[in-house]
């Protein structure tokens, strides 16, 4: 497997796990925020919405504290037609629901991405580290078969065993030859994820691509555990 240290990650994962998984919705910031507000309030959540401005590294800090279930979501405008989505899930971005629901319900395409280094060296109960991997899912505005996932590609350590999954039809922007790599981790790397995302006009690892406008939505989603970013980073072995 390529050395995790030499791979590209958003902000070099200094704010991980906040930067392990995030998503993009193809609509301006205000439209995405209005859609999320309508959706979340529609099933009874009470929301506190605040606007922020700044560089992505500073904006992401508004997500703290981290929680066992996301209750703080940050929407950041980008210099493209897409809005970025991050949340405060303590395991690092629980983006599947918004990235797949909003496209179909509000007519905006969605792209979910994940890039986390694999630092788990053992399957022992007391081993410290992270099960890493790379993943990309593209969600359409209409159903394809039973769901609206146009394409999903993932190569990740699924709890001790590396797995590769590719669901949906191969798209014109893919390099399917890469999926034949002997080592599963080499079949879908952060670099390949970055290349694929460029097809959509998304420079996912480029900090200047994000901001300066952002909106934080905090909700009354029930949570039973909260942690500071530092506490969680220490627990995951990201810092000493």
């Amino acid at each position: 497997m390529p050395n995790p240290d030499s791979m590209k990650y958003l902000l070099d994962n200094q704010l991980a796990p906040l930067t392990f998984s995030w998503a993009f919705l193809e609509a301006p910031l205000d439209v995405v925020v209005a859609s999320v507000k309508q959706w979340r309030e529609g099933y009874g959540r009470r929301l506190a919405i605040s606007s922020h401005k700044g560089e992505v590294a500073r904006l992401l800090l508004h997500l703290a504290p981290l929680a066992n279930t996301r209750n703080r979501e940050l929407f950041i405008g980008t210099n493209s037609g897409w809005t970025a989505y991050f949340d405060n899930d303590r395991n690092g971005g629980d983006v599947f629901t918004p990235a797949s629901y909003l496209p179909k319900a509000f007519g905006m395409r969605g792209v979910a991405v994940s890039a986390a280094p694999n630092t788990m060296k053992s399957n022992r109960k007391d081993a410290r580290g992270i099960y890493g991997g790379v993943r990309m899912s593209v969600y359409a505005t209409r159903d394809i078969k039973y769901h609206n996932c146009l394409r999903s590609i993932a190569a990740l350590n699924d709890g001790g065993k590396w797995v590769f999954h590719a669901d949906g039809e191969v798209q014109s922007w893919e390099e399917p030859g890469r999926y034949q790599a002997k080592r599963i981790a080499d079949r879908f790397t952060p670099e390949l994820l970055e290349t694929y995302c460029r097809h959509f006009g998304l420079n996912i690892f480029e900090p200047a691509f994000y901001g300066p406008d952002a909106v934080l939505i905090a909700s009354d989603e029930p949570v039973s555990m909260i942690q500071t970013l530092e506490e969680r980073q220490r627990e995951m072995g990201l810092i000493d």
Binding site: Y131, H165, D167, P222, S224, M225
Partner: protein
């Protein structure tokens, strides 16, 4: 697809499921209230009605958001009330009443501990770090009916704001901690509660072992078994 035990989580069965919860809550509450009234020498019927009303209300409200949010608080409150009730009875010399209240208070905790003690060694020894979530569009079965039902259910859950949705991945509890190497077909979080769903064919007979393993790994979770060919 409808499970008569109320375990089918689709929206159409919500009313049946709520009625079952209310009934179970009312029966348990009524029984406890009646015995408590009899032991303290009060009107048994009044005790049954009071207990049944409380139990039924808790049963009906269990899936609601605010219950999930304040579940731990409410559980602590009722436990504290029970402990005080037992203490009060013992200090007034009502040994039988005190013993009954002590048993009622300890049963939920004891049953959770008993469930946890059944956990398999290979689940107990798992590293608590959860792997990243895989795409959920993956099939769970060779049965297209099951795959379609799974995706329909996920669609309904997303509309209700469900989070931490995983398909055919190792069991992860509400805290995001990996608690077993078994792979429920679907797991998700809704209103502060962790749910596990298993799809089985009518002929498989694996539903109950699936449920027991899921609950021994996470006694706070709720299991739904869906029988579908």
């Amino acid at each position: 697809m409808t499970d008569p035990s109320g375990n089918d989580p689709s929206l159409t069965s919500l009313i049946i499921s709520t009625a079952i919860r209310t009934g179970i809550g009312a029966l348990a509450g009524g029984t406890i209230g009646g015995i408590d009234a009899k032991l303290r020498g009060d009107d048994v019927l009044v005790g049954v009605l009071e207990g049944g009303l409380s139990g039924g209300t808790i049963g009906a409200a269990a899936p609601l958001a605010f219950v999930g949010r304040f579940g731990t608080l409410a559980f602590s409150y009722f436990t504290a009330q029970g402990v005080y009730g037992a203490y009060e009875a013992f200090s007034e010399g009502e040994i039988l009443l005190g013993a009954f209240r002590a048993i009622v208070v300890t049963v939920p905790a004891a049953s959770k501990a008993k469930m946890k003690s059944r956990q398999l060694a290979r689940d107990k020894n798992v590293n608590s770090q959860a792997p990243r979530d895989l795409p959920t569009a993956r099939p769970i079965s060779r049965s297209e009916t099951q795959n379609a039902a799974l995706q329909k259910l996920i669609g309904e859950l997303k509309a209700k704001g469900a989070s931490k949705i995983r398909v055919d991945q190792q069991q992860v509890d509400s805290s995001g901690v990996r608690v077993g190497v078994n792979r429920p077909d679907l797991q998700y979080e809704l209103n502060g509660k962790r749910y596990y769903v298993e799809f089985d064919r009518a002929s498989s007979g694996r539903g109950r072992p699936h449920a027991l393993r899921l609950l021994s790994n996470d006694p706070d979770g709720e299991v739904h078994l869906i029988t579908l060919d």
